[in-house]
């Protein structure tokens, strides 16, 4: 029997993996992958909770919108990273430090 707890544990794990990826990876595209993992953890949560909200299904609807918005922001993110690569010939955020105090 798979209960709500199982879903929550899985999503918490995915969220932590995503957060680790964002913090540890030295590549802007891997950071985008990490962000995607974090969003998917949240979507899993929303769908799992939505099962108990039979009245208006707001969890499922929220999940759908979150998927669309995630796709949009990743598309913009990739375009911007491509642009950075044109200027710097690298996408390691550690090497791109013209702006700092």
């Amino acid at each position: 029997m798979i209960t709500l707890t199982h879903f929550l544990v899985v999503s918490a794990c995915i969220f932590c993996i995503g957060l680790y990826t964002v913090i540890a990876k030295r590549n802007a595209i891997m950071i985008l992958v990490g962000i995607e993992l974090m969003i998917n953890a949240a979507i899993l949560n929303l769908v799992a909770f939505g099962k108990y909200d039979k009245l208006n299904y707001s969890g499922q609807i929220f999940a759908l919108f979150a998927i669309v918005l995630a796709a949009a922001s990743v598309a913009v993110g990739l375009a911007i990273i491509l642009n950075v690569y044109r200027h710097y010939k690298t996408i390691n955020p550690d090497n791109i430090t013209d702006l700092r105090d």
Partner: protein, 497 residues
Amino acid sequence: MQDINVQLPNLLDQVIQSIPYFKAELALIFAFLGSILATLFVDKWWKHGSFVITLTGIIISFILSTQQLGAPQNGFFGMLIVDNFSVYARGILLLALLLCVVFIQQHFRNKKFSKNLGDIYSILLTAGLGLNILTMTSNWLLAFIAIETVSISSYILVGFFSENKKQAEASMKYVLFGSVSAAVMLYGLSLLYGFTGNLDFTSFEHIQGLIEAPKILLSLALLFMFSGIGFKLSFVPFHVWAPDVYEGAPTPVTAFLSTVPKIGALVLLARLFEEWTSSSFYFSELVLVLVSVAAIVTMLVGNLVALRQTNIKRMMAYSSIGHTGFLLMALIANLASEPQVLLFYIAVYTIMNLAVFGLIDVLEQKTGSAQLESYQGLGRQFPILFTVFTLLGISLVGLPPTAGFIGKLFVFSSVFDLFQFNNNKYYLILLIVGALTSVISLFYYFKIPLFAFLRKGEEVKVAYSKSAQLVYIISILLGISTLVLGIFPSILLSLFK
């Protein structure tokens, strides 16, 4: 499935009835579509086509939203709240957006590049749409969609031109930081939904669920949720993107980023704050403590770091972080008073910031630099400009007789009333830090007249650019209006009644 079929005509009727509440936003949507089409087809023959459509769209939206004044209503099953607070906020927001569109058009008028400027206007319109929705919702779904709409539009605004390395870097930092905080916020919202089963944060179920939720998980969810709003408002510790992005982006885009998105996020937070801090349960205390601590730390960090900046745009970035702290304090003051205190401060902040960035843009076009040292001795060449600049500095510090003083006075007196009412030590610390940081800010704002009037510098060859004229006039007028509003604050206050 059966009961859905029965309900469906009913639901559709309700949706159709709600559409008139959305007409100000519909105007923006149509202007968005129109400006895309104009960019593709009209701009070849008449290069101002998309610009004019954008301006018309914003003005129509402004007129339509002012018509909603005085008739509080709910639309789309309570997802859309049309009350006076949102009408005023949208008024300020749309006027600021209008000025930003003009600034951007003027800034890029004489520059040549391969990209089409019309796209920027349509992106500005989507940002305005998202912000409008943000001011009129208490539903997490709509709030999240609106925040993401504004964020994605802002990423494009910063990254679109990318004439040099700095702009590309700024846009990458912005998009990565922004997406991470949006993802964290989404996770926090999913937890909040799990506790309560309802996405409307003013609803009874939502507050009931928050009262019953386990404390540790609730604290985590609230922290996550605040990271998303904090990113848009750029309060500490979610401020690290702001100086880099403000410095890297083209100056009129910085003028947009430092004012307009903050209005929307602040109104959302004000609704949330008012609804959630009225009870004496754990989550109310937690929200109050979180906002107070964020306000205190933000004021301190913003103003202290601004002291050692040499680039004027970076300095103004830290100054606007410091002002965010003060805006959060105005949010707390909002508990004790009418919303007009908060609205007054927002309006004054918007005027001051737009004017300052307008003047920075003018100087950047004339001298080609945004470094403070490059202003040496310029006071003799541009006496009016630097007099107004100094006046704006005085207003940003909050000294009389300017509008900044009146705004700060209202906030301080409201927070003091709150302190006398319930003796919460956070209010006292807020008052002390607010006063202290205002004094600190004196030191860096007065660097501008110091360099311009007192230091001797080389005579700078001024590139005569016609494009700066309109921005110059608008900024001077805004600067004078801070003085007028400082002497007659009732003009604005009676408007917000």
